[in-house]
Symmetry: C2
Subunit: 246 residues, 2 copies
DNA sequence: CGCGGCCTTGACAATCGTCAAAACATGTGG
DNA sequence: CCACATGTTTTGACGATTGTCAAGGCCGCG
């Protein structure tokens, strides 16, 4: 039932070559990584790791999307991260996974067994530096999300999420500064709710409200059009557009 | 009006020597750090950095407590981190501060000008590694806090905060596994509210409720006694005590 | 004593969650 | 092709939690 195994691809041809943990590597360092890497694919919906499980690998998302979630005993769940292509999974220096990682679309990961990766990292400052840089970026993102979770209204939360997804989409397929955008929502209403600390009913209602007020329009349930990105940023309550318009 | 300048202290005598960014350094590396470090002190209430300001130093908290906050245009504010002794302030590789940093008690910091520190870090894997480790810990803490902000009730939020402070206090002054504890709350009700994504009135009400229900008792406004830590963990909704009881 | 912070408490309102029903899409098997 | 089952989304009615506004208490300090 697994997706087919992926054949070995040269790092030089890798689509995330310049953004992943290997971004700063020289060609010899890349060869060392190439020697220990392997690809794994996951189907949409498949769990990658359960919180508490022993993790004997780390890796980078090559394509597809995964979510990082935490759950309480009674089932309440909170998404704590969204993993997109080039994002790193796993923590060198720790055995157990701290979160559930689930593929929400079909996914391909570039994996390394943890032990050899840790050894290589100890000898390769370029990898360690890049990982530090990526971790600091994730920390900033997590802290920005704390403001969303702690202080924004349901409507602002939805607008904030749409803003983030739009921004990511724009960075993947640059098209210059434009005022309107259309993109796919890679999350179910429930996943959106788990990200935003809301119920799925509230998410649905606020999506309808934003549609009714002309901030967005929907084609099907998942495709979103934003006629005026500036308006969306205002709705998100952000004091700036995060450099989106330029 | 500033607190007096602190004289130069040898790293060997530093109280945070084994936990800060320099924890892994050998003696020669420590000498290099010692050569570029300087101490700064701040009085309770003083701002250390405003979000957006240029930051020309980084450093470690030696003593005292500071808060990291984000604010929206309309004044809503969310605390995104609590800086305790040994925590690192600033981000190598970035000029502007992303958050407001404010001393909530009298504080002493061990500072480095950013440029020399960055250069030293490039040559000293022990520093870079330790900083990565600390950043990963902070990321975990931020993600754990996302669950608190997104999914917990007001009562659970308060209990979670008390749990964290109790745990930190216990790690500073170890006393073995005990079932009851007393500690000082280093935050005003407003600061607690900003941490928890609540209003100060709700914080006050829930503190009163926990007192009424015998989960805590108060001596003055700031000193908290917990007769049964297990009960507090339950109230926090955590599925474990985080290794506190042992 | 009186002032200013900080905290508590009350009354009321607003937001968001809960429970329930129904619309809609998608896939399976007859 | 239809019937049916399943999963997702929308919408409504209602209730609970939390926020807002307001008043008053406690405490240290000039």
């Amino acid at each position: 039932m697994n997706a087919p195994t992926i054949s070995h691809i040269s790092c030089a041809d890798c689509p995330i070559r310049h953004r992943a943990v290997c971004a700063r590597c020289e060609s010899d360092e890349l060869e060392a990584l190439d020697a220990i890497k392997y690809y794994r694919s996951y189907e949409a919906g498949q769990p990658i790791i359960w919180s508490g499980d022993v993790m004997n690998f780390v890796g980078s998302v090559v394509s597809g999307i995964a979510t990082l979630t935490q759950t309480m005993e009674d089932g309440r769940t909170q998404m704590v991260g969204l993993l997109l292509p080039s994002d790193f999974v796993g923590r060198p220096g720790r055995d157990g996974a701290a979160y559930n990682v689930v593929a929400t679309t079909d996914m391909v990961m570039c994996c390394f067994r943890k032990k050899p990766f840790e050894e290589l990292m100890a000898q390769t400052p370029h990898i360690a530096h890049r990982l530090l840089e990526m971790t600091l970026d994730e920390l900033d993102a997590a802290r920005e999300w704390m403001l969303v979770l702690g202080r924004k209204t349901a409507r602002e939360k939805i607008a904030s999420l749409l803003t983030i997804i739009a921004r990511r989409d724009a960075s993947l397929t640059p098209r210059g500064a434009v005022n309107s955008m259309t993109f796919d929502l890679p999350l179910t209403r429930e996943a959106m709710a788990d990200y935003l600390g809301l119920t799925l009913e509230t998410v649905s209602r606020q999506m309808s409200a934003l549609k009714r007020d002309g901030v967005i329009s929907l084609e099907g349930k998942r495709r979103v059009s934003v006629p005026d990105m500036g308006r969306l940023f205002e709705e998100a309550g952000d004091d700036s557009d995060g450099g989106f318009m330029s």
